[in-house]
Symmetry: C2
Subunit: 362 residues, 2 copies
Amino acid sequence: MSRADTARRSSRPGRAGIRDVAAAAGVSITTVSDALNGKGRLPDATRRHVREVADRLGYRPSAAARTLRTGKSGLIGLTVTTYGDEPFTFTEFAYFAEMARAATSAALARGYALVILPATSRHDVWSNVALDGTVVIDPSDQDPVVSELVRQGLPVVSDGRPAGPLPVTAWVDNDHEEAVLGILDHLADAGARRIGLLTGTSTDTYTHLSTTAYLRWCERVGQDPVYEAYPAHDPCAGAVAADRLLARPDRPDAVYGLFDPNGTDLLAAARRYGLRVPDDLLLVCCSESTVYANTEPPVTTLSLKPRRIGTAVVQLLIDAIEGVESDQPVEQVIPTELIVRTSSERRPPRTTVSAPRSPEAG
Amino acid sequence: MSRADTARRSSRPGRAGIRDVAAAAGVSITTVSDALNGKGRLPDATRRHVREVADRLGYRPSAAARTLRTGKSGLIGLTVTTYGDEPFTFTEFAYFAEMARAATSAALARGYALVILPATSRHDVWSNVALDGTVVIDPSDQDPVVSELVRQGLPVVSDGRPAGPLPVTAWVDNDHEEAVLGILDHLADAGARRIGLLTGTSTDTYTHLSTTAYLRWCERVGQDPVYEAYPAHDPCAGAVAADRLLARPDRPDAVYGLFDPNGTDLLAAARRYGLRVPDDLLLVCCSESTVYANTEPPVTTLSLKPRRIGTAVVQLLIDAIEGVESDQPVEQVIPTELIVRTSSERRPPRTTVSAPRSPEAG
DNA sequence: CTCGTCGGCAGGTACGTTTCTGCATGGTCG
DNA sequence: CGACCATGCAGAAACGTACCTGCCGACGAG
C-alpha cells in the first residue's frame, strides 16, 4: 500500500528519482542503487532489468544527494589569480590557457570536472561549492585561501613551488634558475656581450627566482646587471618597459623577457631604434605562443611545458583525493624547453670578428 | 540530555556542522540556520551571538547539503568543444580565453562559479555535477548535450545562435554576415580588386554564415570567389592553406582570414612569395590577439568582442536561473569592431592611379 | 478577565542518495 | 534430516541543511 507522500512524490512531474525507478521495476531502492552502481550481489537479469527501467524513465541520480552521502563531489577547484575584478592574468595568458586545457583534459579522463574559482577569498563562492581538492596557481606565501582549504583537510596541489611555509599536499614546478642560466649561456654563446632582462615587479616565485638567477649569473661572469621591471599584469606597461630597456645608455645587445608579450614588444622597440634582430640584438622570451614561429624574425622562446604541468598537477591531486599512494614524488620538477629560432641564432662567423659593440654606438 | 548519536557526532574531529553550532550557542538548529541566512524573526542579539559562535567553531555550511535541500548549486556549466581528447579549440583560442574570462568574472560577481565540461556527452562527468544552468559555445544542431539539459529543465544559453531548432533559453551572437560584408567593403575601399577568403571546413554557424556572406558579396559585386578551406582545429593546416591561397593562379590581392592564426600565417606566406603588405596584399583577420598590433606590418583585425559576449551570456543565464524577468531580449546581438591597422590601409594616393593589378602578374 | 496576536524560538520532516544490517530461501554437506 | 552458508533482496539509518509548523509567553484590546 502506497503511503500518501509516496503517491505525491510519484506525481512529481520533475525528474524521476531512485524511488520511482524502484517502484517501476518492482524492486527496492537498495536493489536499484546496487544494480546501477555495480555493487551488491545481484543476478545479471535483475541488473539488466533495473538498468533498462532506469533508462526508460530517464533517471539521472542527483549529484547533490550523492555528494552529500559519499562526501565526494568529483569537483576540483582551479584558482585563477585576479587583478582587480578580472580573473586570469594577462601575462600568463597562453601559459594559463594551455595549462588549464591540459588540467581539464586530465581531470575529465579521471571523471572529475574543474571549477574556476578566484584566488581572492570570496567566501560566498568558495563555501557554496563542494570541492574534493584544489589546484592553486602560483600561490603567494601565507595565501589565505590555501590555508583555509588545508584547514578543512582538503588536498591542495600548487603549480609553482610554494613561497613560504605553505603546507600544500604537493607541487609541480620548473627549475626556473636552471632555465634562466641556460638561456643566458645560450645568448652568451651566440655572441652577446651585455645581456639585459625584462622582468616583473610582482613578488611571485617565478619572477623572483628568475630575477635572482639572472643577478647571480651577472655576478659570476662579471657583467653589470641591466634590467627593467614592470607590473606584468599591465599589457601596456610591457611595451613601455621594453622601450626603456633599449633606450638606456648601457643598452644591452641581448635581452631575455620573462613574460609572453615581451617578444613582440621588444621586436617593436628594436624596430623603433633601428636595431636589427639578431644582428644588433639577440632576443629570447618566455612564451607558449606559436606566433613567435612566424614573426619577423622568428623569436627564440622558452617553453615551461604547461601541458605537462597541468597534467601532473591534476594527477597528483586526484591521487591524493583518492588516497592512491603515488610512487611519484610529491614535488615534481618539469624540464623546460628552449625553442631556438632566428632571433638568438649565432651569426655566421665572418672573416673578421666584429668588434665588441659599444652600446652608445647603437 | 544529549543522545548517543549527538555525542558521537560532536566527537567527530572533522568539520563542525550546524548541529555543533546550535549546541555550542545553546539554541536550536533552526535558529542557527535563520541567524546565518538572515531569515526568520530573531532579535539582533541572538543573531550576533550565533554568528560569533559559528565563526569561533570555523563553521562552513555543507554545500552539498544546501544544494540538496534548496535545489540550487550555484554552479554553471561551460561547455568547451573538444577535438579528440583535447578540450578547447585551437582556433578560437584567444577568443575562448577572453570569453571565458569575462564569463567567469560575471558569474563570480553574482555568486556563481563556472564548471568546465566537455561538449561531448561524457555521461559520468555531466551527471556527477549539479548544475543550475549551462553556457554552450557554438552548439551544433541537434546537440545531444543541449537536448539532454533542456529535457532536464535546465536553462541553457548559447554563445552563437543555435543552428537547428535547438530550444535554448537564450543566445548571444555577433552579426557575422554584416561583419564580413563590412570587411569586404573596407578592403574594396582600400583598393582590393580580388578578395580571397581563408575559411574552415567545419560546419559551425560562424564558419557557415561568414562563408555564405562572402559568397553573396562576391556575387553582388561580380567577383569570382577565391577561397581555401581547412580544418580550423589543426594549427598546421592553416599555414598550408594560407600558402595555397597565395599560390593560386588567380591570386587575390586582399585576403580575409576567419581564424585567429591566419594573420601571421598569411604574413609568412606573403613573405615567401615576396608580396609586400599592404602594397601587394591587403590583409584582415578575425582575432582577439594583441600581437597583431606589433607585427610587421600591424594587421587589421576584426574583434568579436568576446568580453561582452561572455558577460551577456552569463547575465542571461543567471537571470533565467533566478527567474528574473529580464527586459533584455533573449536574443542579443553584440556589435563587432574592426580595428584598422596598416595591413589594410588605403595606399596614399599617387600621382597616377596604379593600373588594376593582374593576378597573374603578381 | 479573556482573547487574539505577535515575537522568539524548537521539533521534525524532507531533499535523494548510499550502505549497513538483516531476513528469507534454497541448496549442500555431514 | 538438521545445520549452515551463499544468494537475492528489503528496511532503515544516516549525510547536513532549510523551512514548515507549532508551542509558549507577553502584551494590548475589548
